[in-house]
């Protein structure tokens, strides 16, 4: 009984790490740029397809290919900001939102044309045999995915807290005009933020793509869940996205395990509704970015 519970929790935490990464990207983009990014799922999908192309098709080393994929998605994100979102910055919030909806449709259909819709497996370098810790089974690719997610979350935190660009991001988040007056290049901050947020989604996609599989529509459910994570944690809140992601992962896993797997996705969302009734601003809604 305990073994089953532990197994459900471990499963949930690893998937939750991926949700958290997605959520952080989305929450940073919203917090700093006030852009609701509906193309977030497509950046997730691109991360997975870049890894598939580099590693499975072109034979690049798995780890090098992972890093290149994430950077590649970051570059695509930065280009999208520069070419599309920057031109829409002074428009009402729904205009950039619609632009990202359009972008999402275009990218997903482009992926169907380029890679065809059949699901692809990334035959990664890890052993398919499970590691057995007592009665609990975990495969090494999932452990790897979990550890990388933790490393990226810590890395993002350090980047925001300790670096020059991080300081500029926080300043822009608090007051864009004051930041500009103080000499912050807001254009650069926006471009970096969008690229960085996209790269985190790409990293999540590459990790979960290697664990599960890769197909053009994989971003749909992931995007929906990252919105849930961000709303649960409080819009624009960094810590909220992490806690929200892990909470969603574990509650889905436990819900599917003990209540009904047919309602796995519903359970997560019921939890969100209950949480929002209790705290409409989300779990960490008052606090904003970690200072």
């Amino acid at each position: 009984m305990i073994a089953e519970l532990v197994q459900h929790i471990v499963n949930g935490l690893i998937v939750g790490g991926g949700y958290a990464l997605m959520g952080i990207g989305l929450t940073l983009i919203f917090g700093i740029m006030r852009v609701v990014n509906f193309a977030h799922g497509e950046f997730f999908m691109m991360g997975a397809f870049f890894l598939f192309t580099l590693f499975s098709l072109w034979g690049v080393n798995f780890f090098a290919a992972s890093v290149l994929s994430v950077l590649g998605v970051g570059v695509v994100g930065a280009v999208v900001e520069r070419l599309i979102l920057r031109r829409l910055r002074e428009t009402p919030i729904e205009i950039p939102m619609l632009a990202t909806v359009a972008l999402s449709v275009i990218i997903q259909n482009a992926a169907i044309l380029i890679w065809d819709p059949s699901p692809k497996t990334i035959k990664h370098v890890f052993s398919p045999l499970p590691l057995t810790l007592g009665p609990v089974h975990v495969v090494s690719i999932r452990v790897f995915a979990g550890l990388v997610a933790v490393a990226l979350i810590v890395g993002s935190h350090l980047l925001i807290q300790k670096t020059r660009i991080g300081r500029a991001m926080r300043a822009t988040f608090q007051d864009t005009d004051m930041a500009r007056l103080a000499g912050v290049d807001v254009d650069k901050v926006y471009m970096f933020t969008f690229g960085f947020g996209a790269a985190l989604a790409g990293a999540s996609g590459a990790l979960l793509g290697a664990v599960f599989w890769v197909y053009p529509a994989m971003g749909d459910l992931a995007a929906l869940k990252s919105f849930a994570v961000v709303i649960m944690g409080g819009l624009g809140n960094f810590l909220g996205a992490i806690v929200g992601g892990l909470l969603l992962g574990v509650s889905e896993s436990l819900g599917a395990g003990y209540i009904s797997s047919g309602y796995k996705d519903a359970i997560g969302f019921v939890l969100i509704i209950l949480l929002l009734l209790w705290r409409p601003q989300g779990l960490f809604g008052k606090k904003v970015l970690p200072r």
Partner: protein, 399 residues
């Protein structure tokens, strides 16, 4: 100014000429439109793309031989985005805008059920190529009267595989099914068949159409101590389930129903190790043309599939589209004109040997196809047993 006007006039005149000749040609050999609705985006887009490719092979072959009633067939393909509501929209578009006299579709049972009432309202015959929920050919279901289904119901699969069940040695079963009309129907049909043979269903778990992680369900099965798992889902998800069973150390017998997953697809998607020993219920064997209802057609189909460089794992799914087009072509030929009521009447008495077996329709619009049980043996495709379509027809006649 003047020169440009002259040029414009000249261009317009040329254009009119082109249009006029085009119209003339169309009048003599206007193509017969055939509507097709498949999931071309969304989580099951791969299956939809295989079926449209199979259908295109059939259309090319028919048109190369002079078409139907001396006119070429034209396939008008709509995407239902793996969604029932979109399926209804797509059907409306095909019926109202394109005025097709017949529609092939729409892969999933929930999707097919969603468009049936609309098709019935307009009197448009539906040729159903994949869906297996028994509701579709149940006279109580709205729209059933326009359906001609070449794919088998889950009940038929269970009957076809039934003789084999006692020898499989499955005693305590965990059932993993997709949470749609297809999955739920299959759980009922196979649940009964297994119970009759002395096996118990320990746990039934449903999974979402876009799910990729089945650890929660499989962990539950492990805790329940099942000795076998029955799966009803498409090939990619079944592959992932097998892989994750191995990851969790759940080494039990596996049977995959529904006909979309088959040994080659699972070996490719999950690896030979995870696939080893798994059994499948299939309706078509691409390696042995003699098993199909029409050996020559089967040979041509497989050759074309390879020649076009289409994914091999889709060849077993693609044949559904191929057969559906041949059934439609034959019905139009019998009807002597491509109108909906005539085609509907023709379908009732049609007999067409195809890849599924002998395609013809009982009083509820249901056809009985070959049921083949296959297995991965030493990483290779192997046939365990076959119940031919003709035998199922005899059995139903005896009843």
């Amino acid at each position: 100014m003047k020169i440009s006007r002259v040029i414009t006039l000249a261009v317009l005149a040329a254009l009119a000429g082109v249009l006029a000749t085009g119209a003339l040609q169309a009048q003599t050999k206007e193509p017969i439109k055939v509507g097709m609705i498949q999931p071309l985006s969304g989580p099951i887009a791969a299956a939809g793309s295989y079926i449209t490719n199979g259908a295109k092979i059939a259309v090319e072959r028919i048109n190369a031989k002079g078409g139907v009633l001396g006119r070429p067939l034209e396939l008008i393909i709509e995407d239902n985005k793996s969604d029932p509501a979109e399926t209804r929209n797509a059907a409306e578009k095909l019926i109202v805008r394109d005025k097709v006299p017949v529609i092939i579709g729409a892969w999933g049972s929930s999707m097919t059920l969603a468009m049936m009432p609309l098709a019935a309202q307009h009197g448009i015959p539906l040729v159903v190529e994949t869906s297996s929920s028994s509701k579709i050919t149940d006279p109580k279901t709205p729209g059933q009267k326009v359906v001609s289904r070449i794919s088998p119901t889950s009940e038929l699969e269970a009957v076809g595989a039934g003789a084999l069940i006692p020898s499989l040695g499955m005693k305590k079963i965990g059932y993993l099914a997709v949470n749609t009309d297809w999955g739920r129907g299959a759980v009922t049909a196979f649940g009964e068949a297994f119970k009759k043979n002395g096996a118990t269903i320990e746990a039934v778990e449903y999974v979402g159409q876009a799910d990729t992680d089945f650890y929660a369900q499989l962990t539950k099965f492990k805790a329940a101590g099942v000795d076998s798992v029955v799966i009803t889902d498409d090939a990619p998800k079944a592959a992932k389930m097998l892989q994750q069973m191995k990851e969790l150390g759940l080494n039990v017998k596996v049977l995959v129903t529904g006909g979309s997953a088959w040994p080659d697809s699972i070996v490719q998607l999950a690896g030979a190790k995870a696939a080893e020993g798994a059994m499948f219920i299939n309706f078509y064997n691409p390696y042995d043309p003699a098993m199909a209802g029409d050996a020559e057609a089967s040979k041509v189909y497989v050759e074309e599939w390879k020649k076009k460089g289409l994914p091999w794992i889709g060849v077993v799914e693609g044949m559904r589209g191929f057969d559906a087009v041949y059934v439609v072509a034959k019905a139009i030929e019998m009807a002597k004109e491509p109108t909906a009521p005539k085609i509907m009447t023709a379908l009732k008495t049609l007999e067409s040997r195809g890849l599924y077996g002998l395609n013809k329709f009982d009083q509820n619009g249901q056809s009985y196809c070959n049921i083949i049980v296959t297995q991965v043996k030493d990483g290779k495709y192997s046939v365990v047993a076959i119940t031919p379509s003709t035998k199922l027809w005899e059995m139903s006649a005896a009843k």
